[in-house]
């Protein structure tokens, strides 16, 4: 969804940080994105190259760290391993599983000059 606007938000954050922390050029951007964040990483890479053109992140490498999906099974009362929102609990088969991780959409850090 809206990978282009997400990239514009990234450039916006970078420009704010550049002013606050005094750097002029970004060599690498590291993002943390969960599989449930609703972001298509290939579309994001494509948009990133387009959106960063002419900004201080032009030509920067984009590194995407995929965070794991984690869930909490309410009947079992314990964390369980799931992959999708609609996965059943691998222990008891219940669908009463709340997603506790995998929705991250964060800028982790930047390598700058």
């Amino acid at each position: 969804m809206h990978e282009m606007s997400i990239c514009e938000s990234i450039v916006n954050v970078i420009e704010e940080q550049a002013a606050a922390q005094g750097f002029g050029r970004v060599r690498r951007v590291r993002l943390e994105i969960g599989p449930l964040a609703g972001v298509e990483t290939e579309a994001l890479r494509f948009s990133f190259d387009v959106v960063t053109r002419g900004s201080l992140a032009e030509g920067a490498a984009l590194e995407i760290i995929e965070t794991p999906v984690t869930g909490w099974c309410m009947p079992c009362g314990q964390p369980v391993a799931v992959r999708e929102r609609f996965d059943a609990c691998p222990e008891c088969g219940s669908y009463q599983v709340q997603i506790t991780g995998g929705e991250e959409l964060r800028i982790k850090d930047l390598e700058v000059d």
Binding site: S5, S9, R85, I107, K108
Partner: protein, 274 residues
């Protein structure tokens, strides 16, 4: 320009809102990043005068800016005792029809207002105004969703003290899920002509919502739609999801929806959850 939604400048229009005035946008800056300068160049040989790469820790949600606007909206809505409902669905689910049926029953009983989000045209706002309820149309231009910044501007023009604000989002089951507008609840509207596996195909929206309203139930005798399977699919995504079945055409189930709104108002007023 709103950097959250990414629409080009001038494409987003909020009816009655000019961008010429001095803004008070709550543009707080949070320079919360920390600089980690490792003191050595990549080759571990720091030559004076040469540029040196350093790491800057950001640890910031990419949509943090939208979330800040949403928090400001939520605080303003709480301050005025306004219950805001964000209605989300695919195009053609019957959102506007449900809304006009709802407004015509509630109008005169409590303050009401509507923010209408569409890419183009003020058609829906005109349908709403025909019920006598004030409506502001937000055209998102090329944008696929409303964001908290647009809603904040629309709020400047609406007074719904101790009433209900309905935000009819752009018809889209994907993008609006990711954008908090400051609402009390997202309400996902699904028509029975759409197929009972839609919650599985578009899980994010059903996960983000507190209530699912199944619309056009008067058509059920003519369809193969399996209501129980649809609800089961939706609860696989979101075990907490509440479900109502409504036909805005015949009025069947509408009272339940009105009762839910009243319950949500009560709980919002005491800071609880429905």
């Amino acid at each position: 320009m709103c950097n959250v939604c990414g629409c080009a400048s001038g494409e987003v229009t909020v009816e009655g809102h000019s961008h010429d005035h001095a803004h008070d946008h709550h543009h707080h800056h949070h320079p919360n990043g920390q600089t980690h300068d490792y003191g050595q160049g990549p080759a571990r040989a720091h030559a004076p005068g040469l540029s040196q790469a350093r790491m800057v820790e950001i640890e910031q949600d990419i949509l943090a800016k939208n979330d800040r606007y949403a928090a400001a909206n939520r605080a303003a809505l709480a301050g005025s005792g306004t219950l805001a409902l964000n209605l989300v669905s695919s195009p053609g689910s019957g959102k506007t029809t449900l809304l006009t049926a709802t407004l015509s029953r509630l109008n005169g009983r409590l303050p009401l207002a509507v923010i209408e989000g569409d890419q183009q045209t003020a058609n829906d706002a005109e349908r709403i105004r025909a019920t006598g309820v004030p409506a502001i149309q937000v055209n998102t231009g090329k944008g696929c969703h409303l964001d908290a910044h647009m809603v904040g501007h629309a709020l400047e023009h609406l007074d719904v003290r101790n009433g209900v604000l309905f935000i009819e989002n752009v018809g889209n089951l994907v993008c609006p899920a990711g954008f908090d507008l400051g609402e009390a609840h997202k309400v996902v509207i699904l028509s029975v002509t759409e197929g009972e596996d839609k919650p599985l195909k578009y899980p994010d929206m059903f996960h983000a919502s507190d209530l699912m309203v199944l619309t056009k139930t008067d058509l059920l005798p003519h369809l193969d739609f399996d209501v129980a399977a649809c609800i089961a699919n939706a609860r696989r995504i979101n075990p907490r999801l509440k479900v109502l079945k409504v036909s805005a055409k015949t009025g069947e189930g509408l009272q339940g929806w009105l009762d839910w709104i009243e319950a949500a108002r009560t709980m919002h007023a005491v800071g609880g959850e429905v």
